[in-house]
């Protein structure tokens, strides 16, 4: 294994590498041993604490599955609402008319620079004061509101960057054969931009799934993270076990989405059917084009 940063290893470098490997292994093992003994001392590794997840289905059907359902429901609702909204905002930001472009730009930049949690807290208060949504449903509404406001503006930037990444000749050619502005966008630019943007959109899904957990921690939304809390009090303070299981589920979902995004990116790059560049799954470069940062896919 060699890379551009270092030479193919000779005998001395190989010996040194083995030494580094061993040293690192020892350091890692020491940390793991420290963690293990700390957990063991507090009795967090006792079988009783982990049993609910491995024997019987009660923990899964009573706590985890309903929590996961709410997490996925909030994420799905947010995407379904934010995607068209983001597309409209993104296209509006490219408008030829300053009276459309400028206000939309201000709105998008505004919502991108505010934390999702602030938007969610605002949403919760908004629904409890100005609507008759029942107090059971309010956290879900608030979470979805916050996620939609934030992610619609992030998606707007993705759409804008996707359209801008297309070669100029596409729009020029379309106008040359006499299409109108709306037709150019609808028939020529958007279809190509959609394939370009897909990886970035899929990795934005990861952000949405992760952010639903905020609702559980601050807004009493009964999603997966709050399920961990409930479980750890119900099964006798098995905090470590519950959090491990919940974190593993989040990792599984998001890792699948991330891998799907990079697979899409590779595939689209290889296919080269769309003439534009493929937006990276990690959308930091999009933010770079925008002047102010989105904070990308964090």
């Amino acid at each position: 294994m060699s890379s551009v940063l270092y030479d193919a290893q000779g005998p001395r470098a190989k010996r040194r590498n083995i030494l580094f490997n061993v040293l690192f292994l020892v350091a890692l093992a020491a940390v793991l041993w420290w963690v293990f003994s700390a957990l063991d001392e507090k009795g967090q590794l006792d079988w009783v604490k982990w049993e609910p997840f491995f024997t019987g289905t009660e923990a899964w059907t009573t706590y985890i599955w309903p929590g996961l359902q709410n997490t996925l429901l909030a994420a799905a609702l947010s995407v379904v609402i934010a995607l068209p909204l983001g597309a409209v905002l993104g296209i509006a930001r490219l408008s030829d008319h300053a009276w459309v472009r400028v206000p939309v730009g201000v709105v998008v930049e505004f919502f991108r620079s505010i934390p999702v949690l602030v938007l969610m807290i605002f949403g919760l208060a908004l629904f409890s004061e100005y609507s008759n949504v029942s107090s059971d449903d309010r956290p879900l509404y608030a979470v979805v509101t916050g996620l939609v406001l934030y992610n619609a503006s992030v998606l707007a930037e993705i759409v804008r960057a996707g359209i801008l990444a297309l070669p100029k000749g596409q729009a020029e050619g379309a106008m040359a054969i006499g299409l109108r502005k709306g037709q150019v966008m609808r028939l020529i630019l958007l279809p190509q931009a959609v394939t370009t943007m897909l990886p970035a959109i899929v990795s934005q899904l990861v952000v949405i799934v992760k952010d639903t957990a905020l609702g559980g921690a601050v807004l009493t939304f009964s999603e997966l993270l709050s399920a961990a809390n409930t479980m750890s009090s119900y099964y006798g303070a098995n905090t470590i076990a519950s959090f491990t299981v919940v974190a593993a589920i989040f990792i599984a979902i998001n890792f699948a989405l991330t891998s799907f995004a990079s697979w899409l990116e590779r595939r689209l790059r290889r296919a080269k059917k769309s003439s534009g560049a493929v937006l990276k799954a990690d959308d930091s470069q999009i933010a770079g084009a925008a002047g102010t940062g989105t904070g990308g896919s964090i």
Binding site: S3, L5, Y6, D7, Q9, N17, F20, N21, F24, A38, L39, K42, Q44, E109, F110, S113, I114, P115, L117, V118, I121, F122, A125, L126, E129, V206, V209, K210, D211, T212, A213, L214, G216, A217, V218, L225, N229, S232, T239, I240, F243, V246, A247, F250, I251, N254, F255, T258, D282, S284, Q285, A287, G288, G291, T292, G293, T294, G295, G296, I298
Partner: protein
């Protein structure tokens, strides 16, 4: 109409937000650089560790990590981070959680910066006999840092916004004070406006200034 603001330590709350941001930014820059060095290095075990760390940490919600530092590390394992009172403990735990989480993204931003350094740079450095750590320290990383200013700025902005998650473990920063204010006062839109304004003031200049700096220091190729 702004009278009620005096009942709350709004400036103090935003000061806490700034403190969380700065401390976590410094910490995650250091840890993230180390992770990036591990990921591009010649030692297979370190490379594996770096890759596994980044893939695991960036797929866990920050909220889970922050809540775990409080419920898991503090309340279960009695880790106090060398502090005595509840407030300092939670503040330090929040910083720890933010560092652990953000470092994964710093690592990725730096790695994308390393990828922009032309192959010839590293090849020339190797050709004059520099070792891996010299290649990285003297030739590649200085250039990589300069071209990753903009991605790093995005991470910093995201970090500023992510500090609100510390509200989940009771650190008195902007979002928690906002929640408190909304529960006690009637002027919802005004409160939200003030808090939103605070975050716009914190994040917008960061983006603009660092975007300008990024253009300025980028290696012209």
């Amino acid at each position: 109409m702004f009278d009620f603001l005096q009942d709350y330590d709004l400036l103090g709350a935003f000061w806490t937000t700034v403190q969380l941001t700065v401390l976590s930014a410094v910490g995650s820059l250091i840890w993230g650089t180390m992770l990036a060095a591990m990921r591009v290095g010649p030692v297979p075990l370190m490379r594996g560790f770096g890759t596994a760390y980044v893939n695991i940490v960036r797929n866990i919600p920050l909220t889970v990590i922050i809540l775990f530092t409080s419920l898991g590390l503090n309340q279960t394992l009695n880790i106090t981070m060398g502090a005595k009172d509840f407030e300092t403990i939670n503040f330090r735990l929040a910083v720890l959680g933010l560092i652990l989480y953000t470092a994964a993204f710093v690592c990725e931003a730096l790695r994308s910066g390393i990828n922009t350094v032309p192959v010839g740079q590293a090849e020339a450095a190797r050709a004059i006999g520099l070792s891996f750590s010299q290649v990285l320290r003297l030739v590649v990383l200085p250039q990589a840092f300069r071209s990753s200013v903009v991605p790093l700025a995005n991470v910093l902005i995201a970090l500023t916004k992510n500090t609100t998650v510390a509200a989940a473990i009771g650190v008195a920063e902007a979002a928690l004070v906002m929640k408190e204010m909304i529960e006690n006062e009637a002027q919802l839109l005004l409160i939200a406006g003030v808090i939103a304004f605070g975050f716009v003031v914190l994040t917008l200049p960061t983006g603009l200034i660092l975007g300008w700096v990024g253009k300025k220091v980028a290696v012209k190729r």
